[in-house]
Amino acid sequence: MTDMSIAARTINFTLNGRPVTADVKPHHNVVELLQSQFALFGARESCGQGLCGCCTVLVDGKPVSGCLYLAAFLDGAEVVTVENLAEQGKLDPIQDAFIECGAFQCGYCTPGFIMMSKALLVQHSDPDDQQIRDYLTGNLCRCAAYPEIVNAVKMAARKSKAGSTDQT
């Protein structure tokens, strides 16, 4: 007899601007869904407990830990992953700034930091040190590139501001 509790359910959501459909089981988390059905590997599972931030993605604009957030909850949501930040090969100012500031060594945690920084800069376009530290407190970097990351977020804020001024 089939156990109905593990039956897959079909969900519809927007992934990086495109409407998509996926069959998910109740225990599937967002990282599993992104990796197995959409070949998106930017959100990485590290601790699996929502403590390190490596799996951060934006759901309806809010950063969530993809390792804890159940895939089924994405039904009807708008999901943005790190893969969507670069537009037509042009890196997002945050990505540019991380490279310029050398804000990583091994790079494993970088997508999570970048997504959380994205959420930060949407809320606070010109964050101070304390705001940056507070927002990024849930992201861990074993290479401890924290000072460089703080510099990168500040540079990204300046770049974003310069970019938006250019357009007007």
Partner: protein, 267 residues
């Protein structure tokens, strides 16, 4: 590595592609130690690039190219083989000199390079909780010739902060051969709030005579001085000498109470 290849072959580092390593297809090694990747691999890569450079020069001579000609490689191959074919493979092997220690434990050549670095800290100790706050940290290191100064600085800063975790709170709890705190919930590593508010990294440039392009390993440099610096600062602040890591609040508070003849119990 790309910069080193570029330097030897006089091409841009961006045009050098590093093949991703995979331990499935690399020989077994005794371990990673001594911050030696850049030193050993750098030499091997340099030798391989020099080998390739020599072979390219030989090919030019063989084809009677005029001295100093810069005919592209593809054209040289076409000239030699009459079709688009061929390649140049440079190889390099580097094995450092090493003299094992004698019976007295002495060697005149124990390591290809030595690492010299120091750390100074200013701290505040909360005598009611034992909590230590690092208010200022300065790392100074002899970095040889920095191949990529930006990366060297990140390495110094990162190594110091990782050591800060080992010094202040990281401790594996082992019970019956099992690690009982094997998760980031129970085993805390430094986060962004653990970075001292003032942190400076100073490099002293030198030329490592036997290193590739004067460079040497820097990965572990900023780890040496940090723990003793903090322990010395705790001694300076409250007069207790701790000789075991981590220097966590409990260790500091226990030592402080013991010094005041009011030692804490075991639990």
């Amino acid at each position: 590595m790309a910069q080193m290849v570029g330097e030897v072959l006089n091409i841009s580092a961006e045009s050098v592609r590093i093949v991703p390593r995979d331990t499935d297809v690399t020989p077994y090694d005794m371990g990673t130690l001594g911050s030696r990747s850049l030193f050993h691999m750098g030499h091997a890569v340099r030798l391989a690039a020099e080998d390739a450079r020599t072979k390219i020069a030989e090919l030019r001579r063989e084809l009677d190219e005029p001295e100093g000609s810069n005919t592209p490689l593809a054209d040289l191959f076409r000239k030699k083989y009459g079709m688009q074919a061929g390649n140049i493979i440079g190889t390099g092997i580097f094995k450092p000199d090493y003299i094992p220690p004698d019976a007295a434990g002495l060697s005149t050549n124990a390591t290809p390079f030595w690492m010299v670095a120091g750390t100074g800290v200013e701290i505040e100790v909360d005598t009611e909780t034992g909590h230590v706050r690092i208010t200022r940290m300065i790392n100074v290191a002899d970095v040889g010739k920095p191949v990529n100064p930006k990366i060297v600085e990140t390495q110094l800063s990162g190594a110091a902060l990782m050591q800060l975790g080992f010094s202040m709170f990281e401790k594996m709890q082992i019970d019956g051969g099992q690690v009982t705190n094997a998760s980031l919930a129970d085993y805390k590593i430094p986060g962004i709030h653990d970075v001292p508010l003032v942190m400076e990294n100073e490099t002293v440039e030198t030329v490592q005579e036997n290193g590739p392009f004067g460079a040497k390993g820097v990965g572990e440099l900023a780890t040496f001085g940090l723990s003793p610096a903090i322990a010395n600062a705790i001694d300076d602040a409250i007069g207790v000498r701790l000789t075991e890591l981590p220097l966590n609040a409990e260790a500091v508070f226990r030592a402080f109470r013991a010094k005041g003849n009011k030692p804490l119990g075991d639990d």
